[in-house]
Amino acid sequence: MASMRSIKRRIRSVGSTQQITRAMNLVAASKFQRAKAKLDSARPFYEETNCVIQSLVAASQDLSSPFIQTRPVENTAFVVISGDRGLCGGYNVNAAKAAGELVAAKGHEQIVTVGIKARDYFKRRKRRVIRTYQGVSETPFYEDAREIGLFVMDLYNARDVDEVYLVYTSFQSMLRHTVRTVKILPLDKEALVGDALSDGEALDGDIPRKLDFEPDAETLFEQIIPKYICTFIYGALVEASVCEQGARMTSMDNATKNSMELIDKFTLQYNRARQGAITQEITEIVGGANALGDE
């Protein structure tokens, strides 16, 4: 059995780890609340933009824009959203892995990562990471999303890439985060209109939705699509940040619980060892006294 001193030392060491994990849990919990509020306030804009785009696409069927035209795919860009920091369970790995599978399947990749963790993942696998955004994932701002959006649109318009995928973690509930992969460029026209139809509310009776455009549909479209993409990226960033904090909360909570278990176990061991030592001492004293008495 381990000596009392070494058990005592382990109890203390687990205890201080526990203090850290507990503090991280609390910090993550408050950041989670903030991120969640941000997500809630980001949603209306995204939904409204989506709505406008849908009616735009629906109202002008013959619209042609490079953003919705598919072309033969040679190079593919991936925007992978992960965290900058670890200690959040499988959050970073899951996103990176899902993206990694897609990258392996597509080849000719150009990877844009948000967060250091995804960058490291792809660097280690010798994949082409062309750009990394740091310090964004925890508290994303719309400006960050805009920068990323403009960057990938430049790539797309310059024909450096023919497709752009966005990989991020979507927030279902506190315990359920799923990695989602969305093709953001070129936009899928059918899916856009299809959404509008399945939504139901977009259709007001049988009146055909005729829309007037100012200045004209083409110009409007050219202006709105980039906004839409940026908004989408912003939504994904915010959602991923909620997931990151949520994942960190859960994993730190687990760590705190585990350390409590460990401390209990070690305390039991310690008490046993202490009792054993006392028993032994008594035996020794009794033995000694007996030996003296015999003389």
């Binding site: 306030s41 709505c51 406008v52 009616s55 005729k210 007037d212």
Partner: protein, 143 residues
């Protein structure tokens, strides 16, 4: 029968700025000011940098600085989607002044075409912000 009010929603990526029924709206489209009354035809319009004016009960209720974006007008409601829209009291006037100076300097220096365009846009944004920030906040908006 068209209702006598029109529902206006002003939404930015970070918040909903306005969400109420109003009498009339004047907004700055890409091709000039546009007044919108109840029963306006369906229209999607690109917005320029300018002031969005809200009229309620025959008088002006409030002004907003709207910096780009677009508006959808349909069936008695108007949705203004903008990257940046601000109430007069939320505008940092000194920052706008500084941005104006910076942009003016850039225009004077005449670096390259791209920079010129960006500087001009920045200047226009700053001018709108300065203009709107000088307006009082009419009506007690709960924002």
């Amino acid at each position: 029968m068209a209702s006598q009010k029109i529902h206006l929603r002003v939404v930015t990526p970070v918040q909903i700025l306005f969400d109420e029924d109003v009498d009339m709206i004047v907004l700055r489209g890409a091709e000039g000011d546009m007044g919108i009354l109840p029963g306006h035809e369906r229209r999607a319009a690109l917005l320029g940098y300018g002031t969005l004016r809200i009229f309620q009960a025959g008088k002006e209720e409030g002004k907003l600085a709207v910096l780009g974006g677009f508006a959808e007008i349909a069936d008695g409601h108007v949705t203004v989607l903008s990257d940046a829209a601000e109430w007069p009291d939320k505008i940092d006037k000194s920052r706008a002044e500084a941005a104006k100076k910076r942009a003016e300097q850039r225009i004077l220096q005449k670096d390259s075409d791209v920079d010129m365009q960006r500087a001009e846009l920045a200047l226009r944004r700053a001018l709108v912000r300065i203009e709107v920030s000088s307006y009082p906040l009419i009506g007690a908006r709960n924002h």
